[in-house]
């Protein structure tokens, strides 16, 4: 590239940096980065391997049959003479709580995000958005407490059918817990839609509502779906609230007024209770954990797929 016959340039002060030192430094930095990346991949992989190994041990036990585990509708590992390991009551409890939580968090979060992004005056937004993010940092045990001491008594006073521990109360609390993430991520997705699109729609005579609903929401769809799925994954994996408020009776039910047990709730019960370290009930929690992992993993994968599918490229 250098051409000595080109115009003589103004000399630049200083000595040239050592190329070797530069190269060595680049190599070191690269090695460090690769090391860190490998480390976190390794940790994740080993967690999965341990989960799978223990789950396999569980299925090897005489008392356990794989068919019962995947298709059985009775989960009674601790009580009774005969133990049953059918996972559906736990999945049912998890889905019930998640469904209640999402019917609170998704619509409310979406509406709040649209308000913040499209309607709120900038100064109000500057206050509300950080406040929301602070809410996202509240420890979940607080929400569990809130469910038990406020939501449940409230529900019972409205309707007598609610049990002390019930899926509805826990679901509402999980929903409130998820609300800040849903709102914040959805709002980010809405803000990422180029201003020029809004200007174009306003210029054609669209009202603020039409701009929000017909232009901004569809354009932000991939981000919104991703936010929703992240919230669902969090709700499925939420532990503290359900352990406190949903109860610990693995019921095969779709009635949210009843007490249920979620997958996470069961694991807490096993690890905190005085179950032995090797019995079938202990090992069963690994199988449940593995199922939970598969579920959240599935949600994430679906999220990625949807994101790719709906992603629009601007410019």
């Amino acid at each position: 590239m250098t051409n000595p016959s080109a115009n003589p340039t103004r000399p630049i002060p200083g000595r040239p940096r050592s190329k070797t030192a530069q190269r060595v430094r680049e190599r070191l930095i690269q090695a460090g980065l690769v090391g860190c990346a490998l480390f976190s991949i390794l940790i994740t992989a080993s967690i999965v391997v341990i989960l799978a190994a223990e789950a396999i041990q569980f299925f090897r036990l005489d008392e356990v049959s794989i068919t019962e585990f995947f298709f059985g509708t009775e989960w009674s590992p601790l009580l009774g003479a005969e133990k049953h390991f059918g996972i559906w009551p736990l999945i049912c409890g998890t889905l019930l709580v998640t469904a209640v939580a999402m019917s609170v968090a998704l619509p409310l979060g979406l509406i709040t995000a649209v308000y913040l992004s499209e309607y709120a005056p900038p100064r109000l937004r500057a206050v509300l958005k950080p406040t929301l993010e602070v809410l996202a940092g509240i420890p979940t045990v607080v929400f569990g407490f809130f469910a038990l001491t406020v939501i449940t008594p409230g529900l019972i006073s409205l309707h007598e059918g609610f049990e002390i521990y019930n899926a509805f109360s826990a679901g509402i609390a999980v929903g409130i817990m998820c609300l800040p993430i849903v709102t914040s991520l959805t709002e980010d997705a809405l803000q990422a839609v180029p201003r020029a699109l809004r200007a174009g729609a306003f210029g054609l005579g669209a009202t603020r509502f039409e701009v929000s609903v017909k232009i901004v929401l569809p354009a932000a769809l991939s981000g919104i779906v991703a936010a929703f799925l992240l919230a669902i994954a969090r709700a499925v994996g939420e532990t503290m609230i359900v352990a406190l408020a949903a109860g610990s009776s693995p019921n095969m039910t779709l009635d949210p007024r009843e007490s249920v047990q979620t997958m996470t709730g069961y694991m807490v019960q096993i690890f905190l209770g005085d179950a032995s370290n090797y019995g079938p009930e202990y090992l069963s929690s690994y199988a449940v954990a593995f199922m939970l992992f598969v579920m959240t993993f599935g949600i994430t994968v679906i999220g990625q797929k949807i994101r790719k599918r709906f992603r629009e490229v601007y410019q």
Binding site: L197, L204, K214
Partner: protein, 288 residues
């Protein structure tokens, strides 16, 4: 390992060998008219506007004549976009913006707080500097505006989309892929789509703010030719930094400088014998 300095340099832009024809050259073909003799589409009188304490436009008075192309020229920051944004009330979105004076579209007061802003914006089409098609299909982009304001049957919409795309000289290029995403079009096609989108609402005036500044010469020629055709049905106001473009396409030219209207007249007159010293300096490139 590849050294960064040896990475391939970006390729030289390849010159296009296709012939670029600018069909229009109004300044050569049309006699100068007096704007006072024509019907006014937009009437501007003692019109001033502010952003907070900053006065962006200073007591402008002129008319934009009906069914003609009026070019707004002037150095960056002189208030051209501000003026256009008042005509379709886009400045409503800027909290600090306010205005005084008279601004009328076919007799409708554009500044009145009672004005139906949504209806005003329908009557005024706007084409922006950078093409901004919605991330929807080509068809839905064109149908977007009309669907906001009217109930249309399927076949009415089809006809309107075809007619608008025809008006924007885009129909032949996209008629086989109306359902394709508008973002799959080239920049020049996207800009013509934005024109079709604006035209589909049946505007009384089309505002174009530097519509060609992001386009190559060929697309620019396409848009300029298009303006000459649209001129039969629409009033057009165009902002441009390209003096040849202003001279080629417009019937009238307004020269703004620091928020003031220095000169307004037939394009031919402005470009051949401007009355003001500043105008002459600007169009000959001595400042700007």
């Amino acid at each position: 390992m590849m050294e960064p300095s040896e990475a391939a340099l970006p390729e030289e832009p390849v010159a296009t060998h296709e012939e670029i024809t600018f069909k229009t050259d109004l300044s050569q073909t049309r006699p100068s008219e007096d704007p006072q003799d024509l019907d006014a589409a937009v009437r501007v009188e003692r019109f001033s506007s502010w952003y907070g304490d900053f006065q962006a436009l200073q007591a402008l008075s002129f008319v934009i004549p009906e069914n003609r192309i009026t070019a707004f020229i002037g150095p960056s920051g002189c208030g051209k976009s501000t003026l256009l944004r008042w005509i379709n009330r886009m400045n409503d979105l800027v909290p600090s913006a306010r205005a005084e004076g008279v601004l009328e579209l076919h007799g409708t007061d554009l500044l009145s707080s009672q004005a139906d802003v949504v209806d005003l914006r329908r009557r005024v089409g706007m084409v922006f500097q950078k093409p901004n098609p919605f991330p929807k299909s080509i068809y839905d982009n064109v149908a977007f505006g009309p669907r906001l304001h009217r109930k249309l049957s399927r076949s009415e919409t089809d006809d309107l989309v075809e007619q608008s795309l025809n008006d924007a000289a885009l129909w032949d290029e996209v008629k086989d892929r109306l359902k394709a995403s508008a973002l799959s079009l080239s920049g020049g096609q996207q800009q013509r789509l934005c024109i079709a989108r604006a035209v589909a609402c049946g505007p009384e005036i089309l505002l174009m703010d530097e519509p060609c500044s992001a386009l190559d010469p060929k697309s620019t020629a396409a848009i300029e030719n298009l303006m000459a055709t649209l001129r039969q049905h629409y009033t057009i106001a165009i902002v441009t930094h390209n003096m040849q473009q202003a001279a080629r396409t417009s019937d009238f030219t307004a020269f703004l400088y620091q928020g003031e209207l220095i000169e307004f007249g037939a394009t031919q007159q402005i470009f051949t014998k401007p009355e003001q010293r500043e105008t002459e300096n600007y169009i000959t490139g001595r400042f700007g």
